[in-house]
Symmetry: C2
Subunit: 472 residues, 2 copies
């Protein structure tokens, strides 16, 4: 198995925009075209521990036509294009390894069309998930996909994001109905309609969902919405150890309980969020769960899960009954990553993200934890365990390369284990720069070659976010 391709940052050929292209961008965008160092640096990083790798120029687009103009320019000059939302990626997706132009879509943040009667909404790619849910609150509907960060819908589509609600509502894969896409030649196409299902031709929508900006720029996204459940209740359940919490989760899933959220936090994560969010959760492994349904249905689900938890040494549920209590708990859960970072000021985090068939989850987590303990690096575990998906974050001192090496070794072992257990090297973060080697191990050379064939066909000049997912 290859080690992650860290050298890509140094070895890549740069393709900066020539003067005529910069002139054309400046003429059209004025102040919204920037080569200022601070702006470029902000667009040359994400939440990954890679060094900043800035693009040559940043353009703040406000419409699909504007994005198409930029891509057409880039295509004419063979210059890389990197779509940018808010920079919350975790695998190096946004680094301009060959230079080029970063298209910042954060100003494309309009709700284009809300159809509550059809449970659909079309948004511009720069709308964030929190903004979306705020703006549609009056309709009695919500968009469930929740990767933790307040990512943009475009970024979430690009990485096939999921998060806490996916166990019940699916991921971006299941919840994007259609896209407006600027192709690599600067044309605008629409994939899909507002129909809930279709068997009309190739599934271009899902080809783009998860393509990490390498096939085109998604500028508008049509999403499925869901009625806010009549009743919602959230509960915390402490377990004597991680193994017991995971075993309880496995049984809940195998029984088909339609649990809406089922999140594992290890003691380290609980400690971090207690400090960060001034909570006083008992500092031992816990499941943070949410139930959606009718009043009676929620009660029934909770009783079943409580009984299963008890069998595995879980304590009595502590209920978060008011919306405010629930929000406080989930906000804390979403802060786990940053809360953990703050436990060691100045540290950076190497995160992994594997997903395995549910019956393999206990083995997957237990062995990864043992290895982390043996290595002596500080770490934390959080998991969307209802999906078999969990993250291990290793906290490293960026000035101590041996810590980085240890974290990468642990991450490698964890991915190798996930693949042995018939899982995936990336449950929801994507491949980016970090997991290119892992993708080959997972999919095999033939399947990756097929991805390359698709890429070459749709982006023959390799301008769309080049150097990500696979080497060409």
């Amino acid at each position: 198995m290859d080690a992650p391709a860290h050298d890509v940052l140094r070895s890549a050929r740069r393709r900066p925009p020539p003067a005529p292209m910069l002139d054309a961008l400046r003429a059209r965008f004025g102040d919204r075209c920037s080569t200022a160092a601070a702006v470029r640096e902000q667009h040359g990083r994400d939440e990954s521990p890679f060094p900043v790798t800035p693009p040559d120029v940043v353009v703040f687009c406000e419409s699909t036509d504007e994005a198409a103009f930029v891509v057409a320019q880039a295509a004419a000059h063979g210059v890389p294009v990197i779509p940018f939302g808010v920079g919350s990626s975790l695998e190096g997706h946004l680094l301009a390894v060959q230079g080029g132009v970063s298209i910042d879509l954060s100003r494309m943040n309009r709700i284009v069309r809300l159809n509550p009667e059809d449970l659909t909404v079309t948004v511009e790619a720069g709308v964030s998930r929190e903004q979306l849910n705020r703006e549609i609150r009056d309709t009695g509907l919500f968009f469930p996909i929740d990767p933790g960060a307040n990512a943009t819908i475009g970024g979430m589509a690009a990485t096939r994001a999921s998060g806490t609600n996916a166990v019940r509502y699916g991921t971006m894969r299941e919840n994007v109905l259609a896209l407006t896409v600027v192709t690599a030649s600067g044309e605008v196409i629409r994939t899909g309609t507002r129909a809930k299902k279709s068997s009309a031709g190739y599934d271009l929508t899902r080809l783009f969902v998860g393509s990490e900006g390498t096939l085109g720029v998604m500028t508008e996204v049509t999403l499925r919405l869901y009625p806010l459940p009549e009743a919602v209740s959230a509960a915390v359940c402490h377990f004597p150890g991680i193994a017991e919490a995971v075993d309880a989760t496995i049984q809940v899933i195998q029984m088909g309980v339609p649990i809406a959220r089922c999140e594992l936090l290890d003691a380290n994560s609980v400690r971090a969020v207690n400090r960060h969010d001034r909570l006083n959760l008992r500092e031992q492994p816990m499941l943070l769960m949410e139930f959606h349904g009718s009043e009676a249905g929620v009660k029934e689900q909770a009783e079943i899960v409580q009984a299963i938890a008890r069998e595995h040494g879980g304590e009595e549920f502590q209920w978060a009954t008011t919306p405010e209590e629930r929000t406080r708990l989930w906000t804390a859960r979403h802060h786990a990553y940053f809360a953990a970072l703050q436990t060691r000021p100045g540290c950076r985090c190497v995160t992994t993200d594997t997903c395995v068939p549910i019956s393999r989850l206990a083995e997957s987590i237990n062995d990864s934890r043992r290895e982390a303990d043996e290595a002596g690096l500080p770490y934390f575990i959080v998991g969307h365990v209802g999906d078999g998906n969990f993250h291990l974050g290793y906290l490293i001192d960026p000035d101590r390369p041996e810590q980085r090496a240890t974290a990468e070794r642990l991450s490698l072992q964890m991915v190798q284990r996930a693949l042995r257990l018939e899982g995936t090297c990336s449950g929801e973060h994507g491949v980016g720069l970090h997991k290119m080697g892992f993708l080959v191990d997972e999919a095999g050379a033939g399947a990756v070659e097929m991805m390359r064939q698709v890429k070459r066909a749709l982006d023959p000049k390799n301008i769309m976010n080049p150097g990500k997912i696979f080497a060409l």
Copy 2:
């Protein structure tokens, strides 16, 4: 809008296998390689009203390696390959418009691996949906996708099938986890793992699901399974008219009731199934519904839906309480197509299959029905109305070309309406030969050109089911 491309059957260039290829196939497959007219004819038709268009040779494969051998031969000689399951397609998918070799996968009907603890199963492509559910019955799990016909899982994946349960459980799009695929060059790849979700690279699985055999041969399919619900109940509800039944459905969906099946039958369909299955359902529009959940949950859902139905003039639910009664009703529903055919001996059926956003369903059905009434052709309507999807079948005398022309005109109008209402020209039957013109109208020239680019990249010799979905 183009009329459907009927001329394709006559104008296509034939590419028959040369003698060395036939020799190689006979040497390897013996009796399982057939050029007998009866076998070829059986493989040159489906349930569409197109004339039989046989392949030059049929090979009955029993393993992925065998399928790879056939495709490698075909690739070497530039000969078309058509994967064949049981021939239940409705849009001309299986017709050998350029001749070539039909790979019959019906003998690849083994359950490869059942993992009840993970709610997954891997099957060979020739396993039928009824066989699958029979073979896994002991596990307490089931596979919900149910297109009516006892299609093969491979065929269902190829057309992105769905059917009666899709309103609750999704379609093949949501329920295929991974595939084993023979590529157009005869290599074998695996798309995906057994993990429930992944963001590792392009979604090759969903690129193949719905690709109608045009990109490769799917030989194994890994599927999601679901725990059999604790309680199941089915009910029939009669309405004064179709409009009322549809309006009730719309409200059920908008309220988020997790109904498992919600099927519309018009009076003509009810009359046909009464005769065919010796039932005595009242011959007026009805919804046939099924509820899955806990005992209490099913009761609660049914009460909500009964209340909604009542508001729209629906009568008291008639319950099918025993499994036998339920099976009898659903079997009748599945026979609707053949039952309708039998109401006019010797007739053929031109079916349409559109899907629209749920709020547009009433307009879509009412106007299509009015046009059918005005045209005076016998017809029937059945619909997976919970998804906004319905079928109109026009019964025509094959010896009267003017009836065929009328049916095609009505079908065209119905598709045009669906597209105006932001729906799709094919909810679940696929494009095949019949809807190639409609696909361009729906997706636009740019998106169809992108599909062509993908096709050319993955199948440069255009051997995989050529002439389907789009012209190259």
